[in-house]
Every structure is written in C-alpha cells, then in structure tokens.
C-alpha cells in the first residue's frame, strides 16, 4: 500500500488577527506552499479537507469552497470537517486516507478558526457548543467546568495536586517563549501560575488555553510524489482515531479519555512503535489537566502517574526521553479550535526537519506524535510521524 508523507506545512501566527477567514487561510496556505522543496503548484492538489467548527456562525456552510477558491485550488473536491477542537486532526486523517486509498496523490489538510471578533456574549455561546448541550450545558458547564471536574477527580483518585498542573503551565509557556507563531509568548513563573485568577475551581487562568484566531495548512503526498517534491519528507507512520460518550456522566471514568487511548493504540500499532520510541509529542493541552491525562493515555506515564511525570519535569524540552509540547502547546501557542490539529503537524514537520528556532529545537528528534482531542474527549485523532519510513 502507498506510504504517505507531509511535504509542506505552514500556518499563521495564532492570536488576535486583523485578518478574516479568507486572509488567514491565504497566509497559511502560502506559507505551506513555500515550505515545499520542489516545484509545486496549488493546481496539483487533488482534494482538500479543512477543519473548522465555524465559530461564531459567520460562514458555517461551504467554508472549504470559499477558502480554497482563494488559494489556487479551483474546482477540486473540498469539504469542511467538524469534530470540535479535533476538526483538523480528523481533516488530516481524512487526507491521509484519501491518499492511502489510491484516490489522490496530493491532498491538503488544514484548519481555521476566527474566534476573537465576537462579542463576549456570543463567544461564550460558541465556547460551549461542543459539549453535551441538553444535560451538561443546562447544568452550567462549559469546558473549563468539565475539565475542572476531571481535575478534581484525578486529584482525589491518584493524589495528583494543583501544583502538578502549574508545572505543566510553566513548562508550556517556557516552550512557547521563542515560538514566533505562538499566541502568548511570556515567561510565567511558578508562583504566578500558582496564584492565577480562578476560572473553574481548581483551574485558574494559567490552566486554561487562550481563544485564538489562526489557520494552519499541511500538504500530504503519496510516496512516489513526495520523493519528487521533497528533499526531506516527514512520513506518516500511523493514524489512529477514536470516540467516546459525549457527556461525562455516561463514561465509566472521568480521569482518562478512552478515545485518546484507542486512537493512540491504533496509531502506535500501525507505526510499529510505542510511547517509549517517541521523541516529541504535541498533545492537546486545552487545559493543563488535559495534558496530564494525555501523558497517561498516550503511554508516556503509567495510569495515575501523570502528576508525578509533570512534577519531575519529564516533558521539558531535551530533559527527558520525550519532549511534550515543544511549540508551547495550546496553552502558549494558542487554540484556534479548527486550526489546532494541523497546527500540531506544522510543528512536527518543522521540528523533525530541524527548521524551528534553534533555541527551541528538540535534539535528535526522529519520531513525533500529535494528539488532537475534540471537546472533553468525545473524539480524538492521534498521528505518529518519522523522518524515516519503517
């Protein structure tokens, strides 16, 4: 079966943009096209998948057609992919499958979200649209509340503490400090993160990612094309995905994400690797507790030991066996919902090719993983990448 590689990847800076949807997508696509080593034209793209939840309701229908017409990908099959915050993780998986199936040779996967041009009232409406509307939202929950329930339960069951989350926040801000694409580039001290404004007890402002505008674009190609267009393709070694009950009350446990575990197992199996083989991982830290649980669900820490993993600083850049969120993660790099998944792939592409700022390069990185979660864990896509084919 055909192998699939990433041959180009680019994004906008995540944060508050003056640009609208079309402008952000154009900038992101242009950056991705420019990153391709060989002679490439947008007209060579066979198909495109663009992740977005259409935050704010501005352009819910036919978003993908509107965006691709501005970037030289005329008349090809396109569609918007929606799976909450995992939208572009799944757009990437769809693109990978399109090539794997033999139906396409070059496919674009991307994501986009415009979040900061709304009134606070409208923004709060949209921030809760991916949770269980009928039972959780009616009980006053948005995602800070949902993850706060998970955090307190994890503390209770495993003895993890809020300071473990503080360590994650400090690490990710430190990682994002030199990332030119990051939304929040500032050094955050342990004391400051420890004493942040309480958003949803026990989660403070420093446990929560920002709401960001942004777009990201990735170009995937079949092996025979990738070798012609790229001097250093990054191979997709495994793609896994999973889902779970939408509402927390229907899950047997709220201290783990079954969708993540299933997605990871599938991606590792395809790649013929396990967690100990991964050099760096971009994980979905929409809240610090989400990263703590992800380190367990992805196998970097044993069940219940995510707190200890964070306490010992094992995810810090170049300090342990795996660097977690070298980009700064959602916490520092930002979280434009639909753009996050392929934004993670942009970081992996550049890290594995040695193209990020030297101050934040993960040393000797040959394998990487992306972990993109939808909402409170109802959906998840995990991908494993390598510099070399198996």
């Amino acid at each position: 079966m055909v192998d699939v590689a990433v041959i180009g990847a680019g994004q906008t800076k995540f944060g508050n943009h003056a640009l609208g949807l079309k402008g952000m997508w154009a900038e992101s696509a242009e950056n991705a096209f420019a990153s391709i080593d060989g002679d490439f034209e947008p007209s060579m793209v066979d198909e495109a998948f663009i992740g977005s939840i259409a935050f704010g309701g501005g352009q819910i229908g036919n978003t993908a057609a509107l965006l691709t017409e501005h970037t030289g990908m005329d008349n090809i099959p396109v569609r918007r992919v929606e799976n909450a915050c995992a939208s572009s993780g799944f757009a990437f998986r769809d693109a990978w499958m399109a090539i794997k199936s033999g139906q396409a040779d070059i496919v674009v996967a991307g994501g986009i979200e415009k979040m900061n041009d709304l009134t606070p009232e409208r923004k709060r409406f949209w921030l809760g649209v991916s949770g269980d509307t009928e039972w959780e939202r009616l009980a006053g929950l948005t995602f800070p509340g949902t993850y706060a329930l998970m955090a307190r339960r994890h503390f209770h069951e495993f003895g993890s503490v809020h300071d473990d989350l503080v360590n994650i926040s400090v690490k990710n801000h430190m990682h994002g400090l030199d990332n030119e694409y990051a939304h929040i580039r500032k050094d955050v001290s342990f004391e400051k993160a420890q004493n942040g404004f309480m958003v949803a007890d026990p989660l403070t402002l420093y446990d929560c990612c920002p709401t960001s505008d942004g777009a990201s674009t990735v170009i995937l190609a079949a092996d025979h094309v990738a070798k012609k267009l790229s001097e250093d393709p990054i191979w997709v070694l495994g793609s896994g995905a999973g889902s779970d009950h939408l509402a927390l009350h229907d899950r047997p446990s709220i201290t783990q994400l079954i969708a993540s575990q299933r997605a990871a197992r599938s991606a590792y199996d395809q790649a013929g690797l396990d967690a100990s083989d991964i050099d760096m991982a971009e994980v979905h830290d929409c809240f610090t507790i989400a990263e703590l649980m992800a380190t367990e669900d992805l196998g970097f820490a044993s069940r219940g030991e995510g707190g200890l993993f964070a306490r010992e600083g094992r995810g810090r850049r170049n300090e342990g066996s795996v660097t977690i969120n070298p980009s700064g993660g959602l916490k520092s790099k930002g979280h434009p919902l639909g753009a996050t998944g392929t934004g993670q792939v942009v970081e992996v592409f550049k890290q594995l090719r040695g193209e990020v700022e030297s101050s934040r390069q993960v040393r000797d990185a040959n394998t990487a993983l992306t972990h993109n979660v939808g909402g409170s864990g109802a959906t998840c896509a995990v991908h494993v990448f390598g510099r070399d084919l198996k």
Partner: protein
C-alpha cells in the same frame, strides 16, 4: 400552627398538618417571604407536593396562581380543574398552601436576605426571559420531551442497569421505561465556575451570584449526572458528601423558564 412544627424541606420552610401544608421560601426581606435566587411558585409547589406525598396520596391537583402546569405533570401529578388538592399561591409573599379544603397560612420566621442582591437577581430573570439563543441551545420541544427525566429522574432500565438520562438505543441495547430514580447520591467531583466561565445562559445572574456551583454526582440508583447547586448555595461541596435534590429554575430563554433538579448539599 406554631413555627416549631415547621421543617426545612429542600431548602424551603414547610409546615405540615393533617389536611395540608404551607410551604414558604426561607428568604425574607423585612419579615416578608421572598423567592430565593432560583425559586418561584412552581418550585415551591413541587417541593410541597413531594413532602405531602410522603404522608398522603395525591391523585390530582388544582392550581390557583402562577405555576407551570407542565412542570407538575412532568413530576407525576395530574393537573385538573376539579383536582382533589388545591394549590393556592399567596398574593404578596413567596408562599403557597396545598390543601383539600380551605386556604391555609401561618407565620414562620425566615432568613433575612440582602435587598439589593434580591432586586438584582429579580431583574436579571426578567431580562433573561427575553434572551434569544445565539447558537447551541435546548429547544422548547427538546426541553419538554426531557421534562420528566430532568424534573423527576424518570429513567430507563436495561437488564439490571438503570439508565438516566434517557438514551435512544437500538436493537438489544434498547432500554425499557422504568420508575423514577431515588433523589439522592454522592458527590464524585465538583467545581465552581467564575462568572466569565459560565455559559452565556447564566451570564446575567452569575456575576451577581459570584459564579455558579456544579457537582458531578453518582446517584444511589447507579447513574451519574451533572447538577447545579440549589439556591446558589455557597457552602463548599466535598467529594463523598451526600446530596439530595430539589426542583429549581435553571435559566430562562425565548420567553420560557426552564426548570430542573438541582443538588442540595447535606
């Protein structure tokens, strides 16, 4: 009837005797009973009926006053013009009586509440009634179809497993209707959301209340659920603590007040 025969019932003051009861909000301003932050005549009526049904059989009720009949029906009471039990709302007080014959009343002291806060909440509810959804919302149809589960824990069963909230399963996973769950459980987790962290449905009241409290509860009958804390009680929840439930207002939207069970922390 003397006040020492009155009890605290689901966060309200209930005075019961052989042929009926009076139930009042525990909140007062200058001695006059006023509604709590998420209460009204409907919530008092359901609370009173649930107490009365422990002593007497309630076949049907007649309503005199501003009470949402759908809510009474969802809680399992037959509403009829010639009902056996008469529910009468006091004109100028957060108080109702439920009796077979005469309207009853008696004095019972409450807790003085802050007048300014009370007025702010009252105005917020009035504004909220005119709020229009801007995106994700529970339609009136969905709200009504789930009313019996939301307000009375009506449940389903599959084999030995009790199911709540109701699920629309297929094949051999299709559950059958089952009696309502018991209204008690244990807190498995909790949070308090700041005003800015709460959904927009709560954005007018949350700043006045200083945020909203939510508990994740394992009900004694098995299922789990997420619930707001009743009366916007500021007492600190704890994992492992027992909770019971009382009907309260949740929010208003599109001209409709939405009710549901909220957790009463022991």
């Amino acid at each position: 009837m003397s006040s020492n025969q009155c009890i605290n019932w689901q966060g309200n003051l209930a005075c019961i005797q052989q042929d009926g009861l009076v139930i009042k909000s525990r909140h007062t301003i200058d001695g006059n009973h006023v509604f709590g932050p998420d209460s009204d005549y409907t919530t008092l009526a359901v609370s009173g009926l649930s107490l009365l049904s422990e002593e007497s059989e309630i076949n049907s009720v007649t309503v005199n006053g501003n009470i949402d009949k759908l809510v009474l029906q969802a809680c399992g009471y037959l509403v009829d013009e010639d009902g056996e039990w008469k529910i009468n709302c006091a004109n100028d007080s957060a108080s109702i009586s439920i009796s077979k014959d005469v309207e009853m009343d008696w004095e019972v002291p409450g807790e003085e509440t802050d007048r300014e806060r009370y007025n702010l909440i009252k105005n917020a509810w009035l504004q909220e009634m005119n709020a229009v959804s801007q995106g994700a919302f529970v339609s009136e149809q969905a709200y009504r179809s789930g009313a019996a589960s939301r307000m009375n824990f009506s449940s389903q069963q599959l084999g030995d497993i009790r199911i709540w909230p109701p699920r629309e399963m297929i094949g051999d996973q299709r559950p059958v209707d089952a009696p309502p769950l018991g209204q008690s459980g244990i807190i498995e987790s909790w949070t308090k959301l700041s005003a800015g962290g709460a959904p927009s449905e709560f954005s007018l009241r949350a700043p006045i209340l200083g945020g909203i409290g939510t508990v994740f509860v394992k009900l004694n009958d098995g299922p789990r659920g997420v619930f707001l804390i009743a009366d916007d009680d500021n007492s600190e929840p704890e994992i492992g603590k027992l909770v019971s439930f009382g009907l309260r207002r949740i929010y208003a939207q599109d001209g409709l007040i939405r009710y549901g069970l909220k957790a009463l922390i022991s």
